[in-house]
């Protein structure tokens, strides 16, 4: 967008903040409207770009190729994906104003950012924020405290909305290089690690409090009886819940499917219960 360009291109189209907002709302609501195996969020991207395409391109041919570009395969954590869309909008705006940017460049850029942004979004939002707030929420809810679901609802919804909005506008105002430097491997690794520390400690606590398994085994030695669970409680309370989690983890690492493990738990738990072990 140089002054030279402005002189050459007579009808210069300038996007306004409200155009970006229109696209933001469409992405927020409709990213997964037509979620499908073929393009995943591709249709959602096209929908989000619709107001931008209508404003930037007037001819049928231009609109057709712009729609093709935006409808291509896309799959990314939706909140962080906002940054990609913001940036794509900036690129489309340049393209509409006469800059020569090939379609492949735009698509290559989108595709290359999907992975790292998903990684960051999944570990921060799905891995850390949702898991920690969900654990707290479940904990409170099971004690009958209505704040449980409310804390989770507000604590997750507000960041999703606010971040998607900020990323949309940030993406538009940032350049590719800025986004790429933000996504340097080292930084992602550090953020993922920090998220992992808090997330793991919380699910450790959940393993202790929310898995229930105790043994009913009682040994009789003549006059004296030994209640197995009391022995365990002196040693490591919650040993059986921890053991169950470790067993599931082990089986998952052995490539057992969750369904297979569920069936295993059903069979093991039921037989144990019927035999009087649990």
């Amino acid at each position: 967008m140089t002054i030279v360009n402005q002189e050459i291109v007579q009808e210069k189209v300038q996007l306004t903040k409200s155009d970006i907002n229109k696209s933001f709302f469409r992405w927020l609501f409709f990213s997964h409207s037509c979620y499908n195996y073929e393009r995943l969020q591709g249709m959602g991207v096209a929908h989000a770009m619709a107001p931008i395409i209508e404003k930037l391109y007037k001819s049928k041919e231009d609109r057709k190729s712009a729609l093709d570009r935006s409808m291509s395969f896309f799959n990314c954590e939706p909140t962080f994906a906002a940054m990609i869309h913001g940036f794509t909008i900036a690129v489309e705006e340049k393209k509409a104003n006469g800059e020569d940017i090939p379609d492949e460049t735009i698509n290559a850029f989108k595709t290359s950012l999907m992975g790292p942004l998903s990684g960051m979004g999944d570990s921060l939002l799905q891995g850390l924020l949702a898991v920690v707030l969900l654990s707290i929420g479940i904990d409170l809810a099971m004690e009958g405290n209505i704040m449980g679901p409310i804390i989770f609802l507000v604590g997750t919804a507000v960041p999703v909305w606010v971040l998607t909005y900020i990323f949309y506008h940030k993406g538009y105002s940032l350049g590719t290089t800025a986004i790429e430097s933000m996504l340097s491997n080292r930084k992602i690794e550090k953020i993922t690690n920090a998220a992992g520390i808090a997330g793991l400690a919380v699910i450790g606590a959940m393993a202790a409090t929310r898995v229930n398994l105790s043994t009913k085994i009682v040994f009789n030695f003549g006059e004296s009886t030994v209640v197995m669970q009391e022995v365990l409680n002196k040693f490591i309370p919650n040993l059986l819940p921890l053991g169950t989690v470790m067993l599931c983890w082990f089986l998952l690492n052995k490539k057992w499917s969750p369904v297979k493990i569920i069936i295993g738990l059903f069979v093991g738990g039921a037989i144990g219960s019927i035999l009087g072990i649990f």
Binding site: K64, M71, N193, A194, G196, L200, A201, C248, S273
Partner: protein, 253 residues
Amino acid sequence: MLLQAILISLWAFFITSTFAAGIGFFVLMKPLVSGTVVGLILGDVQTGMMIGATINLINLGYISVGGAVPTDLTFAGVIGTALAILSGVSPEVALTLAIPLGMIGTAAWFTRMTADSFFVHKAEKYAAEGNVKGVAFMNLVPGQVIVFLFYAIPTFLAVYFGPSAVEGILKFLPWWAIQALMVVGGMLPALGIAILLKYMASKTLTPFFFIGFFLATYMELDVIAIAVLFGCVGYLSMNVNMGESDEARKEAA
């Protein structure tokens, strides 16, 4: 009962549809939230919330990657909670009830994602004509019809006709079987936790899981305290070389 069944099926539609403002999948579909609302509709928020929270335990590790889902949260959370409240079972039994529902629900999810693939081709025709509104329409409307057909209607049928079937089965079940279901219900959250562990644990970070476990076991700290404590530890870790791979350290040097 008819009105309540309709409201619950509309709730199932809303959280699964695109109209949930981007928080359907992340927030509203979680049984903790969806079950509480089902409880509200059925006039027992407290029970709905506790059952929803219990069902949510096994889905703690619910992370969708690339559209593959291990279980359907709408079926498990909404139908599961409704059936449990209406037939008066304990949360543990509700959990064992919700699991098969969630598995059945994956069929609805699969149908939705397959049907949506067809709409892409219709949208491509509009794209070829440069018809922007047509593409937007194909993204928005047909998918929601599918959600209505495969989520709202099954939910209505299950909530309206299901409870008597569940009650019948429960009456038929002997005590030892119900007890076994409760033992299994207590164990199942372990899987949800294990799925998260597999996703998050790395060699350097795994000890934090055990630290969390032992702090909760011996010091009886609750989850909020542990979350705050280790949120701070995580933040501090960003400024030290904790948990970094050797390559990253070399890169830094």
